[in-house]
């Protein structure tokens, strides 16, 4: 059972464009939603995270939008740059305890110069 569905699998964007990656979850108990960025040959690294008490969180060119009623959240990368080319993973988890996040399957983003 795939608890976190991520789309698209791959995304090609021109430099300066907006990259949008979407995730949907099923478990209404999830209360922490991080996004990870992974460059080839490296481990994932936390990019930005949101809790469901806010509908949007922005850090630089990266914004998470959160829709609790629809059980969806998305990552927007504004003014996409070639250096943003990476694989992005969304995740969802229940805060507390051993904290076991459920990851989406990832989106490979390519930003053309």
């Amino acid at each position: 059972q795939q608890q976190v569905k991520q789309s698209p699998q791959s995304l090609i964007v021109q430099k300066g464009g907006i990259s949008i990656i979407n995730c949907a979850y099923e478990n209404t108990a999830f209360d922490y939603f991080p996004w990870y960025q992974q460059f080839p040959g490296k481990g994932p690294a936390l990019l930005i995270a949101i809790r469901p008490d806010v509908s949007e969180k922005k850090e630089g060119r990266f914004t998470i939008s959160f829709n609790k009623s629809a059980k969806q959240f998305s990552l927007h990368i504004m003014d996409s740059q070639p250096g943003d080319s990476a694989t992005y993973f969304c995740a969802a988890s229940i805060m507390g305890g051993s904290y076991i996040p459920t990851f989406g399957r990832g989106t490979s983003l390519i930003v053309h110069p």
Partner: protein, 112 residues
């Protein structure tokens, strides 16, 4: 980098042989995790540890065992490697007060 090392970084082994991967942290974090990453599957949890000698299974634990005898080391063992265990393995750590997981550089394992 959050003070996590994994060894070896690359390994090729034959079907049926035992393999042990090591994760070492210098952060004194309580929680440690082993994931495998495969194309189209994202990151899947194998086992995790919430303290010395305290471990639990993840969603893909069959064929794997773990041990944590010291805070800084978390070992993943494939008792008898199979080709389906060819993958990239990532270790992650987390401090008790934070929900941010820090991932190691990964180990690429090929089982022939």
């Amino acid at each position: 980098d959050a003070g996590i090392t994994q060894s070896p970084r690359h390994k090729v082994t034959e079907t049926g042989t035992p393999v042990t991967l090591r994760c070492h942290q210098t952060e004194n974090h309580r929680y440690m995790y082993w994931y495998r990453q495969d194309p189209g599957h994202g990151l899947r949890l194998i086992h995790y540890s919430y303290g010395v000698k305290d471990t639990d299974k993840g969603e893909v634990s069959d064929g794997y065992s773990v041990s944590r005898s010291k805070t800084e080391d978390f070992l993943l063992t494939l008792e008898s490697a199979t080709s389906s265990q060819t993958s990239v393995y990532f270790c992650a750590i987390r401090g008790g007060e934070s929900y941010e997981q820090y991932f190691g550089p990964g180990t690429r394992l090929t089982v022939t």
